[in-house]
């Protein structure tokens, strides 16, 4: 059976070029970058080049890049780091209802520790409104965290506009760009952000490595205290191989993104159009402000996991809600925030395209899904035929 992977928003395979770039740093150039001797110095050089490259790709300068262990750490570091550093100025934080749990749970934890939190609602397409951000800002607001594009429904947020509003007010602005790195143009100047987090495994780099952009002058308490690595902003012996891999992966993705996005958008739209032909189907998210690889639909009367299992039996890897929360009993907080009922939110299917997908894969999916939906509906006590 030909296996089709359509869950690139969950994770991506490491590209061969990336793995090749990483290999020397496992056991040849393995030195600790903090050491003075030659092994250490060559590791340091690799780190420096990777930092320069990532900085350049984000429109930042090298000293503004902090390497992390992934998107969750980056978001935690940004949100907690600013909250702790600026709590003398105020204790109010603004975020949105459709953030990834890495931001949402962090903010809710801070709320329990004495911060005040405003969670902004979204419209039916999953968009945060800049006007609502403006209204929510208070004199004691120190931080706003709004994601660049949503991982479930693919809606792209008006980050640049929100950033300008937040800057005018004087609070710090973080965006979780985990889903957009390597896909959209990421220019921290144009985006008007103070902090931006990315995760390598979402753009064909290795798992367990990421980066946080921290604008010069933005104060941050470290999440991980200890050694002087990353200018004291994040302790721990640097994952040289992973960092080198991330830089390479981001470079490749940014170089190819325009052509690749065109290819993905075509497949995405064909999938959306094809799936919409199934009765009682709803497309989730914005059709205009949408990631080029994201398809998210709800088939009424059926539940997501049973659909995924059926797809898996046919060799198709997809997701329902986000992979991180699967295993939980709650339906997607994103779909609920967009106003869907629990019943419908439970029946979501997310297909996220990537480098390895072809139009033939789209054909297979469009061929398989209607039968699965029909079969599950026939089994559903909610479906009246």
């Amino acid at each position: 059976m030909n296996r089709i992977y359509m869950d690139h928003a969950a994770t991506t395979p490491v590209r061969p070029e990336v793995l090749e770039a990483m290999l020397p740093y496992f056991n040849t150039e393995f030195g600790n970058p903090s050491s003075v001797y030659s092994w250490g110095r060559s590791a340091r050089k690799a780190l420096d080049s990777a930092r320069d490259l990532v900085a350049e790709l984000l429109g930042a300068s090298a000293s503004e890049i902090v390497f992390t262990a992934g998107g969750s750490e980056g978001a935690n570091m940004a949100v907690k780091g600013v909250a702790w550093a600026d709590q003398g100025r105020g204790k109010h934080i603004i975020t949105s209802a459709i953030e990834h749990h890495a931001v949402l749970d962090t903010v809710l934890w801070l709320e329990k520790q004495g911060f005040e939190v405003t969670v902004l609602p979204v419209d039916e397409f999953g968009s945060v409104s800049p006007a609502q951000v403006r209204e929510a800002l208070r004199p004691d607001t120190i931080l706003v965290s709004i994601m660049h594009a949503n991982n479930e429904v693919g809606t792209i947020q008006p980050i640049s506009e929100i950033g300008a509003i937040v800057r005018e007010h004087g609070a710090k602005f973080h965006t979780d760009a985990v889903q957009t790195a390597g896909v959209l143009e990421l220019d921290v100047q144009a985006l008007n952000v103070d902090l931006l987090s990315i995760s390598a495994h979402k753009f064909y780099g290795p798992k367990g490595v990421g980066a946080l952009y921290v604008r010069k002058g933005v104060r941050l308490h470290p999440l991980v205290h200890g050694g002087a690595q990353e200018k004291g902003r994040r302790a721990g012996t640097e994952n040289t191989a992973g960092i080198v891999g991330m830089a390479k992966a981001l470079e490749l993705a940014q170089a190819e993104r325009v052509d690749e996005n065109a290819r993905l958008t075509k497949m995405r739209d064909r999938l959306i159009q094809g799936l919409q032909k199934i009765p009682h189907t709803r497309v989730n998210g914005s059709l205009e402000q949408r990631l080029p690889n994201n398809v998210n639909v709800c088939f009424e009367f059926i539940e997501g996991e049973s659909m995924l299992l059926n797809l898996d039996l046919r060799g198709i890897a997809a997701s329902s809600g986000s992979a991180c929360t699967s295993g939980s009993l709650d339906p997607s907080h994103v779909l609920l925030a967009m106003g869907l009922s629990h019943e419908i939110a439970h029946g979501s299917l997310r297909l996220t395209l990537g480098r390895d997908n072809t139009e033939a894969d789209v054909d297979v999916v469009l061929q398989e899904v209607p039968g699965i939906v029909e079969r599950l509906r026939a089994m559903s006590p909610l479906y009246q035929g």
Binding site: I302, E303, S306, L313, L329, H342, M379, S380, P381
Partner: protein
């Protein structure tokens, strides 16, 4: 994640459907939790002679529904009532910890159907 037995019952669920002239019907769960089970039973001489289900839910919910119909059919109402959720899980060669509640649900659906059957017979008897 799921045992072969679960996958077998998921891919080939036994006794799917409805019984239009059922002697008892039970429905448990709600869309909020993501699982709804509906069970129909036919009872003759105190024995469950036919049983059908419809389920909205995850793989485990479908498999436990299917399994409980197999366990219940041919049993007396009293015997069927004794079927516990752990028996359902065991018969499926285990369920992942996060899915154990689904076996609960199946047992409850059967209980509800039997209760409905009892109520109906009590009504006709009186």
């Amino acid at each position: 994640m799921y045992s072969d037995k679960v996958m077998d019952h998921f891919t080939n669920p036994r006794n799917v459907g409805e019984i239009p002239d059922a002697d008892g019907v039970g429905e448990v769960g709600n869309a909020r939790c993501g699982d709804i089970m509906k069970l129909w039973i036919k009872v003759e001489n105190n024995v469950i002679t036919d049983i059908k289900f419809k389920t909205f839910g995850c793989g485990a919910a479908i498999a436990t529904s299917s399994m409980i119909t197999e366990l219940a059919i041919g049993k007396t109402v009293e015997e069927a009532e004794q079927i516990t959720n752990s028996q359902v899980a065991e018969a499926l060669e285990g369920l992942p910890p996060v899915k154990m509640h689904c076996s609960n649900l199946a047992a409850e659906a059967l209980e509800a159907a039997i209760e409905d059957y009892r109520k109906r017979t009590a009504n006709t008897a009186s």
